[in-house]
Symmetry: none
Subunit: 413 residues, 2 copies
């Protein structure tokens, strides 16, 4: 089953935004056994959109269209779809109610342009937008399915997960594809590949292994294709087990979970509490934890100690330590971790202090030097890392390394 | 002058990587007055690439191709280009020297597949790759320019800046496109559109206005096309000025800057320091600030006070306040802001406390209820917001609202 994605909007073509929607959609579709043949970004131009639709329909069975559904003049996707299908725009009552309710909820006057958002081509089924005023649209015509959704990522994502994917599963005969992911931290993909080469060679032809590296983590994804979900599942589990055993302590989860969620789940099951002291990660670790619902059961809070005085005052680092060893040092990292452990009254803590860059490096401590510590009641561990010279990468890699250090400390107990 | 970008490689189509190259290239090209008409991502498949090239050539004057130049079997861009132009592959001495030198530098044996990387279609000019083994290629044929580059971002970027853009400027008479962006916060796009409808109607045909909404912010982007950069710039400034005046205090910047960077720039210019107390945003505000290099000149740190005891102990909220009014209340927000203002010793502070969801709501305080406060020495302001029921969205919108409240307080002074 082949799909194409057409994203509409000049903001992508002038490079103002990066199209992250397409990759997300492609991933979700792949999991359902739908292959994306082409992704095209086109301008808010009627003829251009019409051509893109016509071309896509020659290659694919399902065509996803995102963007161009806003209330303003430059949004012309709906009118263009109506012209493409040679139908009229009609007011849809459900969509109108949705717009009406949204304006009511926010206590805002509803304008004429907003009412127009409830108009859709008459041959479509409306996909309700729980997060915005623009309805999604599902067309099934000429043996092809067309799905038009807003370009706003969270509106599109909810529509895909809530409505579009279930509807695709119900209306198409899709092959069975099941996946099993092993999350590893701390080793590169070539090292892992060498370590499990013989297991990989043993894989049957309908099970594929992909290495998905990302910022100090490698996800090993096994995908099984075919019929008979139960037996595919058994085979997958067997190989996942063999790989996990071989890779050893670098395996942190046997599922496709964000690393920080592995921490939260593990600690919640054991009733353990966590705090953090962040310098160069500047809140990123806390943000990763608190983006997950229910994180408050584990995470009590943290001190973002960007300035040295705050390291002393809030995290309890000794003035003398900072004077003698500097902010980026083993001693400071340890005192930060121990400081929040006691002041925040948690069972475990992590602390990060380093030079994210691009400024602030020295010969002794170049940009990318990061000290990380993890602490519990009677033990603190600390380790120095030397990452690269990219600020955001240093922040992300520090967070990954800190969570891995914490997981290792947790599992010792 | 129109361009198209074709990215080749299955990793984009299965969603394994997000195509960031195209946005980067589009930005660079726009600055040179080259408009990108379409971006297409296609698979490592000969016929598919040939079709994409043929289609692009019907629409554009310049076709950029990235990816598919690696040494492995699935990389077929060069062979496909040779077939497209109906020419042979020949060994290029400069490219071979480059490959040879790279292997020498890393002390690695050069393999036959690497030597093959120096083969190029005979009708191309080679673009030397200073950062890798795959040469870039420049074709000028049939009145069109084709540029093929590696998909590795920094290899492509270096080639674009060092060779391709100077070569384009030298060989083409390029028109001018200039953009001017107005960043607004706090009003939706339909409201803004209605407010400036008459100004939008006054726009000459060569100036376009786009509304780019994102999480409580709307960017208004004016784009002017034509000749004579100075007069276009004057026209843009004139309309930007009229729009900014009409929109009023919702305008926070007359440039395309992230909102938190507006805060950092404004405060740094005035030597002001900032701290934060975050409950439901859980570190997101701190992370937004500290992702920017140089943020330490303004931002001293923050207290992530997820738990109520931490709100008391670290941010200095009174136990009685929490008992009487609850954690999500005007009083708590105010005390959080005032607490970190004094404890962190900053000129300004912001505080956020709310129910991000999906759990924790009540009839009185449903999910999405957020109290935000901003404080300076003699004044604290606080406001209640009612966002939606999506956790991540509540976090992002809270951050935007907090920065907007801070900017408003800053500008009062």
């Amino acid at each position: 089953m082949l799909a194409e994605i057409i994203t509409i909007g000049d903001e992508i073509l002038i490079g103002q935004i990066v199209d992250t929607n397409s990759a997300w959609m492609a991933q979700k579709l792949n999991q359902q056994g739908i292959r994306v043949k082409q992704i095209s970004s086109v301008s808010d131009d009627k003829q251009h959109i019409l051509n893109a639709l016509t071309e896509a329909a020659t290659r694919a069975d399902i065509i996803f269209i995102t963007g161009g559904l806003g209330p303003t003049k430059d949004d012309i996707t709906k009118q263009t779809l109506a012209e493409y299908f040679n139908v009229k725009l009609v007011l849809n009552e459900d969509a109108l109610n949705n717009v009406f309710n949204i304006f009511k909820r926010y206590n805002r006057p509803m304008l004429d342009v907003n009412r127009k958002q409830a108009e859709v081509p008459e041959n479509c089924e409306v996909i309700l937008n729980n997060n915005g005023t623009a309805p999604g649209m599902w067309f099934n015509t000429g043996g092809k399915i067309y799905v038009s959704m807003p370009g706003v990522p969270f509106e599109m994502m909810y529509m895909m997960e809530d409505t579009v994917i279930p509807k695709l599963k119900a209306s198409l005969k899709l092959p069975v594809i099941i996946h099993k992911t092993i999350l590893t931290v701390g080793e590169g993909e070539s090292y892992l590949a060498e370590k499990i080469a013989d297991i990989e060679n043993d894989l049957p032809h309908n099970i594929k292994l992909a290495y998905l590296p990302k910022m100090g983590q490698v996800r090993l994804r096994l995908s099984a294709y075919g019929n008979g979900e139960a037996s595919l599942q058994d085979k997958l589990e067997e190989f996942a087990g063999r790989i996990a055993e071989r890779v050893g302590h670098n395996v942190v989860a046997l599922e496709d979970t964000p690393l920080e969620k592995v921490v939260l789940n593990y600690m919640q099951e054991r009733g353990l509490k966590l705090s953090a002291a962040e310098s160069c990660t500047g809140g990123y670790i806390s943000h990763l934890l608190t983006q997950h619902a229910g994180s408050s059961a584990v995470f009590l809070g943290s001190a973002i100690t960007y300035d040295n005085r705050i390291k002393e005052k809030i995290a309890g680092v000794n003035h003398q330590t900072l004077e003698t060893f500097g902010a980026v040092s083993e001693q400071t990292a340890r005192e930060m971790a121990e400081g929040v452990l006691s002041r925040f009254g948690t069972d475990y803590s992590i602390a990060v202090t380093g030079i994210a860059g691009p400024g602030g490096g020295s010969e002794d401590k170049p940009v990318g030097t990061v000290w990380i510590a993890a602490a519990k009641a009677n033990k603190t561990v600390a380790k120095k890392f030397t990452f690269g010279n990219k600020r955001m990468q240093n922040i992300e890699r520090s967070a990954v390394a800190a969570f891995f250090m914490l997981i290792t400390l947790l599992k010792e107990s």
